[in-house]
Amino acid sequence: MHEWGLVETLLRRAEEKASEHGATAVRRLTVSIGELAGVEPDLFEAAWLEFRAGTLCANAALEVRSVVAEWECPDCKAIVAAGGALRCAACRKPLRLRAGGEILLERMELEVP
């Protein structure tokens, strides 16, 4: 349900960015959502359709890119898939999440008159 709050933030930031560029509308938005970000893309998109009315994003397309979780050893930089213990088999170090935790507004396409 926190997807609603995140979409509100997305719309606010998108409108701010659009005004910075003197845009009259947003044509397209690209958002990346990591597998371990705790965000459900379907709920996110449903909230988007609900909340965008009356904003500069009212007719904008939303592209949601899913990012697969990728763990890495902080020492030897080996990439390890999830499923086993989150520890480097060679260095015995706890792994670090390299990708898959993000909720990012990546890019926007604006209509500038």
Binding site: M1, H2, G5, L6, T9, L10, R13, K17, H21, A23, T24, A25, R27, V31, L36, A37, G38, V39, W71, A82, G83, G84, A85, L86, R87, P94, L95, R96, L97, G101, E102, I103, L104, L105, E106, R107, M108, E109, L110, E111, V112, P113
Partner: protein, 235 residues
């Protein structure tokens, strides 16, 4: 206007943003963290399912912890029951009722700090809304994330909620006094499941009912305090 042919169509401008949608929250969390650090307070964000035993652990902690000044901010959708229980256990507490919000965020905690001065505390527990999903993604400014996981929730709970357990610095496996009644639950299996979702798994089995494990938990808190003290002296 389109400058290629002057047709009057708006120009399409692509803007690279690369901005986290949690940036505003993270900024407010950093502000809270600075406030806690300045007053030498260790803030613990205590999360877990509804009924996992968060409040009971804090009651047991108050009973066993000598010397430190404790405080708590509790969050539930409705009622101040948890805060009332903690006050009765001797922990000054402030309730945040979130209405229908399923988690705390840094702004809610910040607002609570205006109504509930914490400057004189050594240790602040922030008992989050009972929920294994949403609270995990919001930084509150805490020094540590602690997740309460009761033995009755099943060994595979960590595998079902990896987002929460990934962010835990410590998992308190609660209600261990019930283990004799649960032939299919073993601490080893819970720890094995945690190893698959927590990069540096750390668990302390506790029972609020018998007090078992509570001294180890208090030791863990004391260690966090010493680490935070050491860091602030170095700065």
């Amino acid at each position: 206007m389109c400058e290629v042919c002057g047709c009057g169509d708006p120009e399409i401008v692509a803007v690279e943003v690369r901005e986290s949608l949690l940036e505003g929250n993270d900024r407010r969390a950093a502000h809270n963290r600075e406030h806690f650090g300045r007053h030498g307070i260790v803030a613990v964000n205590l999360m877990g399912s509804p009924g996992s035993g968060k409040t009971a652990v804090l009651e047991a902690t108050a009973k066993a912890m000598g010397g430190l000044r404790l405080g708590a901010i509790t969050a539930d959708l409705a009622t101040e029951r948890d805060a009332e229980r903690l006050r009765a256990a001797g922990i000054p507490s402030h309730a945040i009722t979130t209405g229908s919000a399923c988690h705390l965020d840094a702004a809610l905690v910040h607002r609570a700090l205006h109504e509930f001065p914490v400057a004189d505390l050594d240790l602040l527990f922030i008992e989050n809304v009972g929920n294994l999903v949403c609270p995990a993604i919001y930084d509150l400014g805490q020094a540590a994330n602690v997740v309460a996981l009761s033995v009755t929730e099943g060994e595979d709970k960590p595998l079902k909620y990896p987002v929460m357990f990934r962010r835990a610095d410590l998992v308190l496996v609660t209600k261990t006094d019930l283990l004799p009644h649960l032939p299919n639950v073993s601490l080893a299996a819970i720890e094995e499941a945690l190893g698959k979702v927590m990069p540096a798994p750390a668990t302390i089995p506790v029972s609020a009912a018998t007090g078992a494990g509570i001294p180890r938990w208090i030791e863990w808190i004391e260690r966090r305090r010493r680490e935070q003290d050491g860091r602030s002296r170095m700065e």
